[in-house]
Structures are given as structure tokens and as C-alpha cells.
Amino acid sequence: VNTSVALIAGCALVTAAIKAAGPVALGGRELPRRFIAVVTLLAPALLAALVATQALANGRTLGIGPRRMEDRLDHRLRDRRRRGHRRAARALGGRPPKGHHFAVRLERVRSLRRMHAQRIQLILTVNGERHEVDVDTRSTLLDVLREQLGLTGAKKGCDHGQCGACTVLLDGRRVNSCLLLAVAVREEVTTIEGLADGDELHPVQAAFVEHDAFQCGYCTPGQICSAVGAIGEARDGWPSAVTEDLEGAVELSEREIRERMSGNICRCGAYANIVPAIAEAAG
């Protein structure tokens, strides 16, 4: 609530002030065109200067972030090692380089970069519920789900997108959540925890139980989410590599199911039951 009040009040005040400035200062007077020209000329110039000083104070030059600054300094250091001091001296405009000079600037830029890192507030909608989370910009959706939201259904198997144990649905589409940065998620996330409707299992879940389609169960959450996604894709007519007829909805034959589920690996080898379970759920 406080944020909203501050936001509204702040925006209203600056808007009113900006709109009032011209009329209050110059109202009722006939103005020479040249004067208007000067104002149109000066307003952007002043503003650009303001933005530039702000940017510099934050340790950025316009368009050149700390990241690139660091790269450039790194490059110069390497250059100096490779070709000797003289070349570097020329790069710096003829000044003889002092050993600490580079190091100090590099360290300053690095610390700026650490300051600019790195945590961000996100709004994630998971299983119909909105969550505001504060995450490291580098964390994957899987880690945020498991470690910050306590949703440990999606599993971390290989952590590089080969096993499918981490599969979740984004607006109904399958993704490997271990390969997806949480900051990139704008869609609604559905995990295995969100499939059942209260005590009533999702049809795919029920079919897995019915057909005993697992042994240790580690890959099962991923298998089930993936199957839900696959059934949806087939219904919407998305072809797979083995689809022959490209028109209309796809019928999920055993071959189609095996192809479409090939991204989910089961070390127990429960495929013999997984395939019929999905076939039944697909109806």
C-alpha cells in the first residue's frame, strides 16, 4: 500500500509541476518565437545533462556499463603483458603505466559490478498463486521453485536439461526448469503440485497410479508434467518427428508417445508402464 501511495503521489506531483511550470512562469504574455525555440532547445539539453551526471554517479557511462568497462580494462592488462609497457603507454595516451594504476581501476570497476549485481524482485504465478520472490538474477526456475517456494515436486536430476526430471509447464507448455532463468518467466507456472484438483487426481496422475508407471518415482513428477504437456500439444495438432499426417489433431499412438516423451528419462526403466498410462490418459 505504501508503495502505491508513494508512486501515485510522486507521479501526480511531477506531472502537475511539469504542466504548471510553463503557464505559471510565462502566462498571459506574448512570447517571441525565438524564446520558445530556446526553451525547446534547452529542455532536452538540461535533461540530457541531468541523465548523464546521474549515470556517471552510478558508475556507468551512457551505453557503456561496468561490464564493458571491465572488459576493456582486462583487455588492456592482457595487452600490456603481451606487448610490453610501451604499447600500453600509447593506449593510455602516452602516460607511462604504473603497475597499480590498472589494478586499482579494475578493482573499482569490479566492485561496481558487484554492486550492480544481482538480486531482483519477481512476481511468479505458480499453481494459480502469486508469489513475490527476491532472487539472485542467475537462479534457475527450478532452484527458485524448490528452495524458495518449497515446491520440491520438480526434481533436479542432471541439472543440464537431459533427464527431464525438472519438467514443469509454462502456460501449459513443457520446459526444463533447470535450464530456465527465473527472471525470464512471465507465464503461469504449473508444477506437479498444481495438477490435482483438491483430492481428485489429474487424469494423467490417476493413470500412472492405475498402471503402476514408476518404480523409484524420482522421474515421475517430470514424466507426468511432460505427459500433460504432450497430450495438450497433440490435441492442438503440433506434429512430432514421427507424425505422418500434418493436418488436424494428432492421435497419440505408442510411437508418438515414445517420441514425444523422449526427453524424460527413467533409470528404473518403467517405460513399459509409462507408455500405456499416457495412452489411457490421452483417451
Partner: protein
């Protein structure tokens, strides 16, 4: 009596002239309502914001920054930047607004993009009652649209899917077409567009618009004044 009559008539003319822009603005406001509630503002806050701030681009900019995890300070800063185009616009309107300073300030609040363009007369002065009229109708639809968007956003879904986000550019394009009648006006517009395009990759939102207004200086060359007089 006569003067009051003509005031009322220009106000009504303003209402009529502003109507198409008001309708477009209403559609934009719906998408603002949806986006603002998605960004975490309560529906009431979104509606209040539209009713009090009444500056579309600034509201979008502020809410976008908030949604992206930015602070209130930078959100208000972005709003100020987007609104800074009202500074030269206000200077241009100023001679046409009578009264004492507080009254002039109040009248200045009615300056919005479409009304400002509609109220401009050939000789560079502004018809203030036309300005008030066209702003009034836009205020109604802007607030109304936000109410619809904020409360009915769930039914509507993602505004980008309906193409509502395309209304804003179309809105300004319509303003531009009605203004860019002379050849010189068109070259000023083209110059402004080029400046803005060149700056967009490098500067924060808002700055390109301002610097692009330098393109308007074409209208001040001696030859342009001679042409205008003729």
C-alpha cells in the same frame, strides 16, 4: 452573453473533436488497468493513479519499472522523464492562458497530447476552451477505461494478445497525420523521427522524445516564417 455562448460552443466542439482520441485513449486505459494490476497495484490504486496522474505514457513507464523490480524513486523519475515533453508544450500554451498564476497552473493541467494538438491555431496561439473540452472527454474515457481494465482484467487476459498495445502508436500517428499538412511540418516530423530512432538504443525512455523535439526548430527558420505569413 455572447462570449459565454461562444465559450460553451467551443467547449462542446472540443468534446466532439476529442472524441476519437478519447475512444482510443479508453482502449489504451483498459490495457493500463490490466497491466497495472498485473504489476501488483491494487485495482483501486490503478484507478486512482489514472484519475490523479492522467498522463498515459508516464503511467505506463512508472508501472513498467515497478513491475521490473525497480524502486518507487526510479519509477517516478521515469514518469518525470516521459512527462518532460509537457514543458515545451506548456511554454507554447502559456500566452493563451489568462488569469493569475495559480489559475494558469490549474489550466495548464489540462494539457495532454491530443488536446494540445487539437487546440493549436494556425498563428501559434491556442484555443483554450477547445483544449478544456477535448481534455475533459479524454479524462472521462481514460478513467473509465482504467476502471474496466483494473476490475475486468481477469476476463480480458493478456492485452498484447488482443493487440491493445498497438493502439498507442496508432493514436500518436493519427495526431501526426492531422498536424503534418505542410511540407515543412512533414520534414520536421521526419527529422524528429530520425533523431528519436537514433537515440532509442542508447538513452533511457523519454530522452529521445525530448531531443527529437529539436526537429521542430525547422519551423523557426526565416523562410518558414515567410511561408507562414503568406
Amino acid at each position: 452573453v455572447n462570449e459565454r455562448f461562444s465559450k460553451r460552443r467551443t467547449f462542446r466542439a472540443g468534446l466532439r473533436a476529442g472524441l476519437p482520441f478519447a475512444l482510443a485513449g479508453g482502449v489504451v486505459a483498459i490495457s493500463f488497468g490490466v497491466l497495472a494490476t498485473q504489476a501488483g497495484l491494487s485495482p483501486l490504486a490503478a484507478i486512482l493513479m489514472s484519475a490523479i496522474v492522467f498522463a498515459g505514457s508516464a503511467q505506463f513507464a512508472a508501472v513498467a519499472i515497478l513491475a521490473g523490480g525497480g524502486g518507487v524513486g526510479s519509477a517516478v523519475g521515469a514518469a518525470a522523464l516521459m512527462n518532460s515533453r509537457f514543458l515545451p508544450m506548456g511554454v507554447a500554451v502559456a500566452p493563451s492562458l489568462p488569469g493569475r498564476a495559480p489559475w494558469r497552473a490549474a489550466q495548464g493541467q489540462t494539457v495532454v497530447d491530443a488536446s494540445w494538438a487539437l487546440a493549436a491555431r494556425e498563428d501559434g496561439s491556442f484555443d483554450r476552451w477547445l483544449l478544456f473540452g477535448s481534455s475533459a472527454i479524454q479524462y472521462l474515457t481514460w478513467t473509465g477505461g482504467t476502471i474496466a481494465g483494473a476490475l475486468g482484467g481477469d476476463i480480458l487476459g493478456d492485452p498484447a494478445k488482443l493487440g491493445l498495445d498497438a493502439v498507442y502508436p496508432a493514436f500518436f500517428l493519427a495526431l501526426l497525420i492531422s498536424e503534418a499538412r505542410s511540407r515543412r511540418a512533414r520534414s520536421a516530423a521526419a527529422l524528429g523521427a530520425l533523431i528519436a530512432l537514433a537515440l532509442v538504443p542508447f538513452t533511457p525512455a523519454g530522452v529521445p522524445v525530448l531531443v527529437a523535439s529539436l526537429g521542430a526548430l525547422i519551423g523557426l527558420t526565416r523562410r518558414a516564417q515567410v511561408e507562414a505569413a503568406a
